[in-house]
Assembly symmetry: C4
Homo-oligomer: 192 residues x 4
């Protein structure tokens, strides 16, 4: 089974998700600078989500680049990941409408956690197909960054009920740590 179409389809879905969020950026009512004030929190939540989808696209690119075989299981694991990511625009809009409320901040973190889980399942299903001795399996290795991200999400979710902005700081911190693409896979590919 060729991986070309699964990459093309994922690129399409990710491109739509990342741009659909713009639609949530409502056109300001009024024609002066004050009209931009209520757009600011929506804009900031849009930036954070854009970065997250960008990170997933980057790592998706790396993961499939290092993959040789694809099967039905990988396809469905990939669809589950895309499903989780496709919920980000709604969550982003909810967060942008209620920037100081605890529940949106917490559920945004839960969604990030779900996306991370779906990513983990996808990675496992690809490694299962390529064999535990494959370069990908060795490249992913100890998953330190993934585990620290999970801790970051969970702490963020808990802090959402104390101060929502603390939760967003943790989510932004995790994003920063991931802006650098997964060098482990990249370097394993280069070594080939």
């Amino acid at each position: 089974m060729t991986k070309g179409r699964i990459e093309a389809f994922s690129d399409g879905v990710l491109a739509i998700i990342i741009t659909i969020m713009v639609l949530e950026l409502k056109v300001p009512h009024g024609s002066d600078l004050h009209a931009l004030r209520p757009v600011v929190p929506v804009f900031l939540s849009y930036v954070l989500s854009f970065v997250y989808v960008g990170i997933y696209w980057n790592n998706h690119h790396h993961l499939f680049h290092a993959t040789k075989e694809i099967g039905g299981g990988v396809m469905w694991a990939n669809l589950v990941l895309l499903f989780c990511l496709s919920l980000i625009p709604v969550a982003t809009a909810w967060v942008g409408d209620n920037p100081r409320a605890p529940w949106p901040a917490a559920l945004y973190g839960v969604l990030l956690l779900l996306c991370g889980l779906a990513w983990w399942v996808l990675e496992r299903s690809i490694i299962a197909l390529n064999g535990p001795g494959s370069e990908l399996a060795r490249a992913v290795g100890r998953r330190v960054k993934e585990n620290l991200s999970t801790v970051g999400y969970v702490v963020g979710i808990a802090l959402a009920f104390v101060r929502p902005w603390l939760a967003y700081s943790f989510y932004a911190g995790v994003a920063l740590a991931w802006i650098v693409p997964d060098r482990r896979i990249e370097s394993a590919v280069r070594a080939r």
Copy 2:
């Protein structure tokens, strides 16, 4: 005629259909958990439709992978299928707005039936081009699963007027049976 562009166009349309449904997930009014209550049926109908579009994408991938020749007839059969599938987001939103009404439940089933019919026409037009002795023709074979799905849709449509949730159970059951991609085509391709 190359099949690359028909695959790319179909991937694009299917990626848009599957993500456009997110736009129907309205941002909750309010900032607590209660605000999520009215979103639940819309969310469930979204999950079901996501799975159906995912199934069609998976099988579309397999079908065209096993295809060698493409012509004008296949292109239009493919466009008819895409047209039927493009109606799923509206039907999904209607179902999500009226989760207990019989007509939306029944017409959702009629749409699934139409998509199945369009798929059958596409499959026939491809087999007609590749010849009845082609591996695809042999792979598709007796169409047991397709016929059972048709029965499932029809029973679901009838039950919509008794208890709508029974209809959705049947539609979900058919989806479950299809989550496994069409192993007949897949195995025929592997045997090659």
Copy 3:
């Protein structure tokens, strides 16, 4: 200059145009069959526009398949065509909202005329690049169908002010004549 990316970009834009029209199909208010009544004209205008975008995609596929060289002029001619086609969803929605009004019927025809004009410019710019002796130039030939379509559009626009449904009949008639992809180009390609 490679033609791969211009094809991919055009596929993307055409896929979005053809599916964006679904967003105009408003979710019916109410949960019975009567609620579907006001959706019918919108649905019919959607079908007509879907067929037209499908025709353009099909012929675009054939045109670029028969093309060898691409340059800046072709790129901009292609963008002008995509711009004209991207206006179809709004025109379709206007027609669907006012199925018996003369102006929407007439302007829909004017838009079809503009798309045909943009297509002609694109075809010319490609032939100019490939040379008047190229197989494409010979394949396009006398343009009988294109000229008859232009007549069909103009008659339709005029009839819009008599009976709008007559205009739509003419537009549908032209579409029917084009559902068969451009056999001249197709056969020239096969002869190669």
Copy 4:
């Protein structure tokens, strides 16, 4: 790292941006020609933005065509450019709603300036990877057109507070100068 997927993803995002703007073209209220009057400024702002996104797509095509190596830095520079471009539809809609107000006219110019800056960063990051002696580095050369564009944007922004239509004239003038794709890169590629 292959550049195929970054091109495909960029094509997807640019295709969505350019077509999403259509959604801002509201369906006219009423069924005669007068109903089209309020749509005119929105339409004109849409044309200008369509041309700008088209220019970026054209130059993006040329830039990546002339590129050999791609890395994590280029990916993020590309995402930043896509982010800036994805703000164009909202800015366009704001401008279309307030065609005679100074702030929308000025901020539209600021956004164009930001897009130009992001483009410059992307170009730098690609040249850094391909080496200062690469054909791309030599092709880009003295950046006369880029610097004149910057001047055009800044003058336009300043004039927005005098007469907004003067600002749009400057933005349109810069666009006109760019409709011709970057011949420097094109000719360098041909010389290869």
